[in-house]
Structures are given as structure tokens and as C-alpha cells.
């Protein structure tokens, strides 16, 4: 198996999951509790990567991050190199592509927290951020695990976005799923089989990890969801 591609894939999945947890928690909190009219639009934008062909997303990211846009030029100037066809570019693409897999379980978990808990915390002087940190997050630990595992597994399995934005540079942007594609193109079926089995195993283990967790119990009964 291509160990360089394996390590790159794992690094990409870990970095992406870490960034997603930081970004998705406040976004999901806003989605779960806002009364804003913009909610539907933001929800739809967050869910777009589920239905959008990955190549479409990859294409627009390639354009946005490249020298054709002012944003891309500023970014290239700041970093000293173009973001496209680099590991950082892959991370940006992966974060956007896996966003719904982090935001949706979190938003559902946050929305399921008993409102009376939040009301009680508010009357005890706890502000919005404090309520998120001290009430909502501890009561949504199950959703945090789900969001992390799904984000990780989904990033491991990316293909279209990674190929569009990262190209296929060994050691820099060639992930396992692209290595598998190359192996098939080169008729190296034994190697391709090992890579495919490994990817299959990672995804299966991730899902088994999710489903083996204790079933959620009602927060009011005193246990954590």
C-alpha cells in the first residue's frame, strides 16, 4: 500500500476534523437556536456539499483560490504560494466538503437539549456562550462524537474535490482514494484491492464505533445523550 498516501490521508482527515469541530460548533449552535429568517438559507448552503457534485465544488474552489480572483491573488501573496495544489488547499476543500457531516449531527443534538435547562441556566446568570460551553456541549457529547467520526470518515473517502483542487501530487496531495484510482488505471489490481480494503475497513470501523455507543437516553432522566 502507498504509505505516503495513507499518512497524508490520515493527516488530512485529522486536520479537517479538528477545524470542522471549531467551525461547526458555533454554526450548529446558531442554527439550533436562531429565529432568524436567514436560517433556511444558511441550512441549505451548509447542506449543499451533500448533493452537489464534488467536481463542481472543486471547480469553484479552484477558481476562487487561484489567480483569477482578487481573493486568490491576496491569498497567494500572503502564503507565498497558490493554495490550489497544496495540502492547505486540500484542507480548505475538505472542510467545506465535509461541513454538513459535522454541522447536521451537532445542530440536531443541540436542538434536542431540553429548553428548560437553558432557561434555568439563563436565570442563573449564564450568557449565551457560557450556556453553550457549560450546558449544551456537555449534554450533546454524543453528537460531538458522531460529528467527529462522520467528518473523519467522509474526509478519508473524498475523491472528486481532492482531485480537482489538489491535483495528484505524490506526497503533497495524493490521498488514498486517488492512489486507488491511479492503481486501477495502471492495472495494479492487487495493490488496488489492498487500498480499497483498507478504506472499506476504516469506514466500517468508524460506523461500528458510532452504532456501538450506548443508545441515547433522555437527558432529563439524568444520563447523557
Amino acid at each position: 500500500m502507498d504509505t505516503v498516501a495513507l499518512l497524508l490521508t490520515l493527516r488530512l482527515a485529522l486536520v479537517t476534523t479538528g477545524i470542522l469541530m471549531v467551525l461547526a460548533v458555533p454554526l450548529a449552535y446558531w442554527l439550533a437556536f436562531t429565529g432568524s429568517r436567514a436560517k433556511v438559507f444558511v441550512q441549505a448552503v451548509c447542506a449543499l456539499p451533500i448533493v452537489l457534485p464534488p467536481t463542481v465544488l472543486g471547480f469553484y474552489l479552484l477558481v476562487a483560490l487561484g489567480p483569477r480572483t482578487a481573493f486568490g491573488r491576496v491569498l497567494t501573496h500572503l502564503l507565498g504560494h497558490p493554495l490550489a495544489f497544496s495540502f492547505a488547499g486540500l484542507v480548505v476543500g475538505s472542510v467545506i466538503y465535509s461541513l454538513p457531516f459535522a454541522v447536521q449531527p451537532l445542530a440536531a443534538g443541540f436542538a434536542a437539549v431540553d429548553r428548560s435547562m437553558l432557561d434555568a441556566a439563563a436565570t442563573l446568570g449564564s450568557g449565551r456562550c457560557d450556556r453553550m460551553l457549560r450546558v449544551v456541549l456537555p449534554l450533546s457529547r454524543g453528537s460531538l462524537v458522531t460529528a467527529s467520526v462522520l467528518s473523519f470518515a467522509h474526509t478519508v473517502g473524498e475523491f472528486g474535490v481532492v482531485l480537482m483542487i489538489g491535483g495528484n501530487l505524490p506526497g503533497a496531495t495524493r490521498t488514498l482514494s486517488i492512489a486507488l484510482y491511479d492503481q486501477v488505471q495502471d492495472f495494479q489490481y492487487a495493490q488496488a484491492n489492498r487500498t480499497a480494503l483498507f478504506l472499506l475497513g476504516i469506514c466500517l470501523v468508524a460506523l461500528m464505533l458510532l452504532y456501538s455507543r450506548r443508545p441515547a437516553r433522555n437527558a432529563r432522566s439524568g444520563d447523557l445523550v
Partner: protein, 268 residues
């Protein structure tokens, strides 16, 4: 938060409320339309289920934003959403210093009883925090429950923890929504006394809502009767009772007995 509530000169209301709010539940609407000023240290709002008692408390606490309202706590406007009023004010619940104990104790399941009581004491020095938690658990006779998790507590014990937790936040007023409902009669009396004593010692006024006639007339220096979102009467318990006797009995579904009504003995 300061340790002492705002001083409240006698006869100056510690709470003035004017609320107009329409709830839409499916096709049927409910209109909360009331105005009153509370001066007595222990004020009780008595009314049947569905009369708007809990909504009134939620509005005072800042958990409900009424369509039109002016609410003042200790002379400070915390809500002003009246037409044409400037500036429009809505102080969020976390900034009102209003202690609210609901019938649903909403004890945090991820914290022990002591952890719940200490929730509002963040930033307090640990040994002082521990002492305060222990003292407040004593007020509600729950000192032995400190290390228990909410799932290990009965309904009555959860309510005690919720009361202690509210007191820990050092509220400037206390709102009680049938907080003793899950307690047996003896515990109810003792904890109610402890709670009112705690409040009296600190000059914290208490507004209790109840549908229990006896509780209304025992635990209130002043009673308001609420029906279908409107205040029907306000005054000293005996005065309200005699004035509203027939109507109250009708609310309770009883036939008015001949002669004077026996007034329950007041708690001193």
C-alpha cells in the same frame, strides 16, 4: 453580582408589570392582559391552571418577550416594548438577577447536586464556594445529597436542589412557580419557611404563583387572583378572600357554604 439586593424603600413597588401578550396555540388564542404593582415582601398570584401564571413569571424573568410590556424590578426598567416607547428595552434573563424556580426543576444532569448549586458561583474562591453550597443545601434540607447525581434523586429532592441552585445566584427577587409541588406536606412547610426566612433576611421579595388556595393565603402578605390572563383582585389575603369568596369557590368547583369562610391560619 453584588451581595446585597438593591434597597427597596417601603411602599415603593419592587415589581411593576404591565403586559399584553397573545399566545397562539393552533386555532385558539390566549390573551395575557394584566397590570399590577407588588409591594408586599411575599406576594402570591393565585389562579387555576391555564390562567397565565407561569407565562407571567417567564415574562418577568426575561424568558418570554411579551408583545407589549413594561416591567420594572426595584424601579429599574428591564422590559419596555410598548408602542412608541423609546428606548425599547429587553434585558435578557441572564442580566436580570431574577431567581426563578419552576415546577420542572430542570436540574442539570451532567452535574452533581453540589455542582448544580455551584453553577452560578463560578469565579468564587473554591473553599468559599464549597461552604456556600453546603449552607444552601442545608436551607433546603438536602445536605446529604451533595455528591449525588440527578438520576439518583427523587422528584422532591430535585426540586430542593433547584431551589438551592437559584438561591446561590444571589437573586434580587425570587419567583416561585409551585416549587414545592413534589414535596410531602411536612417538608413543604419546613422548606417553605426556610426559603422565606432566607429571603426575608436578605430583603429579597418573593412572588409565588400557585393554584393551591391554602398556600396562597398562608404564604402571601398580599394576594392577586388571576383568571384567563387577567388580574381579578388584589389585596390582603383576608380582604381578597372575602371579596372574591363566591367567585373563588366557583373557580374551585365548590358550592359556597353558608356563613363566613374559614380563613387558613397565616404563617408568621
Amino acid at each position: 453580582m453584588s451581595d446585597t439586593p438593591s434597597p427597596n424603600p417601603p411602599n415603593r413597588p419592587w415589581l411593576t408589570v404591565h403586559i399584553e401578550h397573545r399566545f397562539h396555540h393552533g386555532g385558539a388564542g390566549f390573551h395575557l392582559h394584566l397590570a399590577f404593582a407588588a409591594r408586599a415582601q411575599r406576594t402570591v398570584v393565585f389562579g387555576p391552571s391555564g390562567s397565565g401564571k407561569s407565562s407571567l413569571l417567564r415574562a418577568i424573568a426575561g424568558l418570554l418577550k411579551p408583545e407589549l410590556a413594561t416591567i420594572q424590578l426595584h424601579g429599574v426598567i428591564v422590559c419596555n416594548t410598548m408602542h412608541g416607547s423609546q428606548p425599547r428595552i429587553f434585558l435578557p434573563a441572564e442580566k436580570r438577577r431574577v431567581g426563578l424556580v419552576m415546577q420542572d426543576p430542570a436540574v442539570f444532569p451532567h452535574l452533581t447536586a453540589a455542582g448544580n448549586v455551584a453553577f452560578a458561583l463560578r469565579g468564587t474562591e473554591p473553599s468559599a464556594q464549597k461552604k456556600k453550597v453546603a449552607r444552601l443545601l442545608e436551607v433546603v434540607e438536602a445536605e446529604t445529597l451533595a455528591e449525588r447525581w440527578p438520576r439518583q434523586l427523587s422528584g422532591g429532592q430535585l426540586q430542593r436542589v433547584a431551589i438551592a441552585r437559584t438561591l446561590a445566584a444571589n437573586p434580587s427577587i425570587l419567583l416561585l412557580d409551585e416549587p414545592f409541588a413534589a414535596l410531602d406536606a411536612q417538608s413543604r412547610q419546613r422548606i417553605s419557611q426556610n426559603l422565606h426566612q432566607w429571603a426575608r433576611q436578605r430583603g429579597v421579595p418573593v412572588l409565588t404563583v400557585t393554584h393551591n388556595l391554602e398556600e396562597a393565603f398562608v404564604a402571601g402578605d398580599e394576594v392577586l387572583t388571576l383568571e384567563e390572563g387577567r388580574i381579578m383582585a388584589q389585596g390582603a389575603p383576608e380582604h381578597v378572600l372575602s371579596q372574591e369568596r363566591e367567585r373563588l369557590l366557583q373557580v374551585l368547583g365548590a358550592v359556597p357554604p353558608p356563613g363566613p369562610v374559614a380563613i387558613p391560619r397565616r404563617e408568621k
